[in-house]
Symmetry: C2
Subunit: 201 residues, 2 copies
């Protein structure tokens, strides 16, 4: 059985947990507390030298890292990853967009404001990330103006990856009122079969 | 013929230019000057609503965005993208690592220090990105301690993606002396057939 190294509040871990659940793949969860620096321990660094969760151990000693890469691995051959070359490359584009333009800009303000409650200490970095994050959210809002899902009008791992931090952006101090199409899409993601929630902070 | 929307100083554009050249794919280059905000013009935003280069127009009106996604598209079916599932997922892992843990941490200090020469104005953000970038470089150095290339002892698009900003990290104020294995690997990349250089600032 897969072993899933998980921090329940992490959006990147949530992506993997949601997909494993929706695909009906059984897995054993091992909690790793990043607030206690458990990802910096030598034993964990042997699993992922980059010191980050999620990690998925697909067989003893074989560890997959990088949340979006794990999504690609798990979704291969399922309806959640299109096979047509141009559809598939659009999924890839959104996965890279998520990691470069969206993820850290939503997750770091959320971490400092809501998880560790250090908003004052990190005020200028929060503002820096929020400025970039709002640009990314505007790109998503515009894309969803004429679409229900991100690629090919079907639920894919692009939706899972983008949803993970977006649906909790307010915990990072974001005002989501300018993004009604994103709100509609979030409702649609929540209505998918075998949906599970991200843990509450 | 492919149309390549390019800013010659960009490492992300360089990845695509290097791969196109090494694969012997002919392309027409259209320069887009990000210093003149040309990526924010309505005509460009129709090509990439996220306002970033590179963009590759593979047929009239079909635009690929996100540098690492373009690498995946171009390398499919070539020796630069392994076919074995576990090798391929390792390439994916490094592509996402590059976008999340390395890219912006190297490119933004380089942009502020060497391209726009605003090091003082952005001093605290430069320090923030350098701290994160040094962690990523250390992960790469450790990985290369027992390997010549990043995946499966062969030159792949993982090497191209990681090389683009790493080999010019000093332009972002990085001290590369703690990373001798990275220096060896950079020399090996430069020795590959049909290698072309990133433009000088």
């Amino acid at each position: 059985m897969y072993k899933f190294y998980d921090f329940p509040l992490s959006g990147n871990c949530y992506k993997v947990r949601l997909l494993l659940t929706q695909l009906g793949i059984p897995f054993e969860t091992i909690n790793v507390d990043i607030l206690q620096q458990e990802t910096s321990l030598p034993d964990f660094l042997q699993k992922n030298p980059n010191g980050k969760v999620p990690v998925l151990e697909i067989e003893p000693g074989t560890f997959l890292t990088e949340s979006n890469s794990i999504l690609l691995y798990l979704a291969e051959g399922t309806a959640l990853l299109p096979t047509a070359k141009l559809d598939r490359i659009q999924v890839m584009q959104w996965l890279f967009f998520e990691q470069f333009s969206l993820g850290a800009n939503l997750s770091r303000p959320r971490f400092w404001i809501s998880v560790t409650q250090q908003a004052e200490k990190f005020a200028s970095l929060i503002q820096y990330h929020q400025r970039l994050g709002n640009v990314a959210l505007q790109v998503m809002e515009q894309h969803l103006a004429e679409r229900s899902f991100f690629v090919n009008e079907q639920y894919t791992i692009a939706d899972i990856a983008l949803y993970a931090y977006t649906h909790r952006a307010t915990e990072g101090g974001y005002d989501m009122s300018p993004f009604p199409k994103i709100a509609d899409w979030c409702r649609l993601v929540r209505s998918q079969p075998q949906y599970v929630s991200l843990a509450a902070i």
